[in-house]
Each structure stands twice: as C-alpha cells, then as structure tokens.
Symmetry: C2
Subunit: 184 residues, 2 copies
DNA sequence: GTCGTTCTTGACTGCGCTGTCAAAAATAAA
DNA sequence: TTTATTTTTGACAGCGCAGTCAAGAACGAC
C-alpha cells in the first residue's frame, strides 16, 4: 500500500490507510484483522509484484546481460519521485526486522526469489558467452541483488541519475570483466 | 544512540531514551530541545564515528586494497547482533528521508565523506598497481559505498556470513579484474 | 552551613493512536 | 417491496506519546 511505502509502518495512521484504501474502518479490520495484518498483506503483494516485474524484465530483453543492465540502470532511469520512494521491501527490513519475524520471513522469501532470478540471468548469460565462464552465477546473483539494494538506498539519499548510472555501469562491467591476471 | 539504532525514530519513546542515556527528562529537553533534535545529534555523532572508523581502517592496513577488503568482508565478520542491527545512517534515510530535510543533509554529507574515502583508497591502490589503471576511482568509490550499503541490508535480512563474503569477494574481484576483452 | 545552580522526578496537559461498538446506510437477493 | 448482509460512520475506550511544570534532591562554590 502506497501509504506504508511513503511513511513506513509506525508513522502511518489507520486513518490514512482508510482514506488511501477508500473503505470503512470495520471493513478494514474485518478483512485484515489489524494494522499489522494489513502491513504484511501489502508487503506480500508488493514483493509478488516486484518478483513478477523482474521476470518480465528478463523476458522483455533477448539478452540476459541486457536484462541485468536494464534492471540496474533502471534505478537511475526512474522518475525522481519513484527513486525517492525507494523499495518497500528494504524499508520493511530496516524498520521492522528487529521486532517482526513475519516481516523477516517475507523478506527472506523475496530475497531468495530475486537472487534465483539473477542467478538464472547470469547462468544464461554465461551460456551465451556474454559473461566469462569464470563467473560464479550464485555469487553473481547475490552480488546483483545487493547492488540493486544499494542503488535504491543511494537513490533515496538523493544520488543523481549520473551517479547511479556510474555505479550500475561499474557493477555491469564487473560481470563482463575478465578474471584478474595471474599476478594478482 | 543505541535505542534509535535498535528501534528507529518513531518506535523509540522518550522514556526509553531517558533510560538509555541515564539522565532526567528536563535535562534531555534542555540539552537537545526535543526528540527530533536528539535524533539529529545521535545521527551526526554516529556518522562522525563511522567516518573516523573508515579512516582508521585505511591507516591500519598497509595495502589500500587490503583496507577495502577489510571493510567489505568486515560486514560478514561482525557478530550476528551487530549484523542484525545494521547501520543507523541507512535506517535514518529509509525511515526519515521523505519528511526530514535535516536527515537528508546529514546523510548526503556522510555519503560524500565515505565516497571520498573509498575514492582515495582506490586511487592509492591504482598507484600501487593493486588495481588496474582502467578503473575510474570516482565510480569505484561510489560502487564500494553502494556495495557496503547493500551488504548491510542483506545482513539485516539475515544473510549468512558465507553469503555476505561471497558478495564482498565478488565486489573485490570486480576491482581487481582486467577490463573486458575487446569482443565485449 | 548557606546559597545558587543544575538535575531528577512525579504529575500532568493535550493530543493522537489502535481497535471496538453499534446504529445508520447501502447493497444485493428474493 | 422486503429482508438479509455488508459497509460506513461517529463515538468511544484505553492507552501511549511528546513535552511542560514545579517541587525536591544533589552538587559545587563560598
């Protein structure tokens, strides 16, 4: 739900939620039980959509490396408002992880989905020769998700599209790179 | 302040703050004005300490590349409690950036300090031949900070030290790597 | 010991919060 | 049109919050 995304859990009142959803108090409590239940539902839905969007990105581009580029550079290409809004998944972890095991479980699940998606992209890129055979797709998948998360934090801090592109470009170059020479 | 770090701004009560600081209510309000002023003071102090710790890391290791490795791998090497606690700087951005320009200013300042520190490390590593001359130290500096932030998010999500090491190792390998071959 | 300053502490104001209650309104089915 | 169900809405309970007030305690200087 956009208001949780905008304000976070604690700073969002039930009144704001009611207005955003356009339903009455009783209906909200009947459907979700309490504010916390609504938050989990919103988070689950958000993560499902993000996962689906990742897969869409992969299908939309013939080249898996191109899809990876699309995703990383896409952060820089977002509208300023979207960049500032950031990612509800990260926000939920930062705000709630210490005291809400349900949020942690959802986050781990979403993380696994995203890492697996990136891993498949890297594996496919290796098959096509877009990425060197030395690259470990498992580590690369984790690296790409970590980079994406870092990019979102930077975006929320107000990093320019140029700075974000530089970071994304660096990460992409890291994938394409040859292994360090023997003297390393 | 550890309680802001642990719970965030909204979920920390003034009562908790008083107990953590061991002073009376009036003294806190006299010294800081209000809860928000205390938060900014805590954040500023935290960021100063993190910046100093980064510089200490650089001095502690003869090799700048070794210092970078130390920092990135250090996330994986932290105690589970510290990994779970994460970074107050990231937390402040995620929780407060949308509605607190003071937090944004502090975050940008801290970001500039960290990026500059990493940039100097990379520049020195280039001088010593630890990193290829093709590496742009500005982009690499930003990339390293973004990676560090992503690592902290992953740590807070519950990523294992092994997974964190894999990501850190990947990023470090990215620095050491030769440029992509001409066929790229 | 006295005095002035600072800090602590209990009490409190004013407010907002989450969630419940119940009556009224809206909606759908017969 | 009537009835049953669902939703909306205002009112409210119970509570916690940030911040203020003022009296008592602690401390340091003389």
């Amino acid at each position: 739900m956009a208001v949780f995304w905008e304000h976070g859990y604690e700073a969002t009142s039930t009144e704001q939620l009611l207005q955003a959803m356009g339903i009455g108090r009783q209906s909200m409590y009947a459907a979700f039980g309490d504010k916390h239940g609504l938050y989990l539902a919103a988070l689950e839905r958000y993560q499902a959509r993000q996962g689906a969007a990742l897969l869409d990105r992969l299908r939309a581009v013939a080249s898996p490396l191109g899809a990876i580029e699309d995703i990383l550079l896409g952060v820089a290409g977002e509208a300023p408002e979207a960049r500032a809004r950031g990612c509800l998944g990260i926000q939920s972890i930062v705000e709630m992880a210490r005291r809400d095991p349900d949020v942690v479980l959802l986050a781990r699940s979403a993380t696994a989905v995203c890492e697996a998606a990136f891993e498949r992209m890297v594996a496919e890129a290796k098959r096509r020769g877009e990425v060197g055979p030395h690259v470990d797709e498992r580590s690369a998948g984790r690296f790409l998700l970590t980079t994406l998360q870092g990019l979102r934090i930077s975006a929320r801090t107000g990093a320019t599209p140029e700075a974000l592109r530089a970071v994304a470009g660096f990460a992409i170059a890291a994938l394409k790179a040859s292994p360090p020479s023997a003297s390393s």
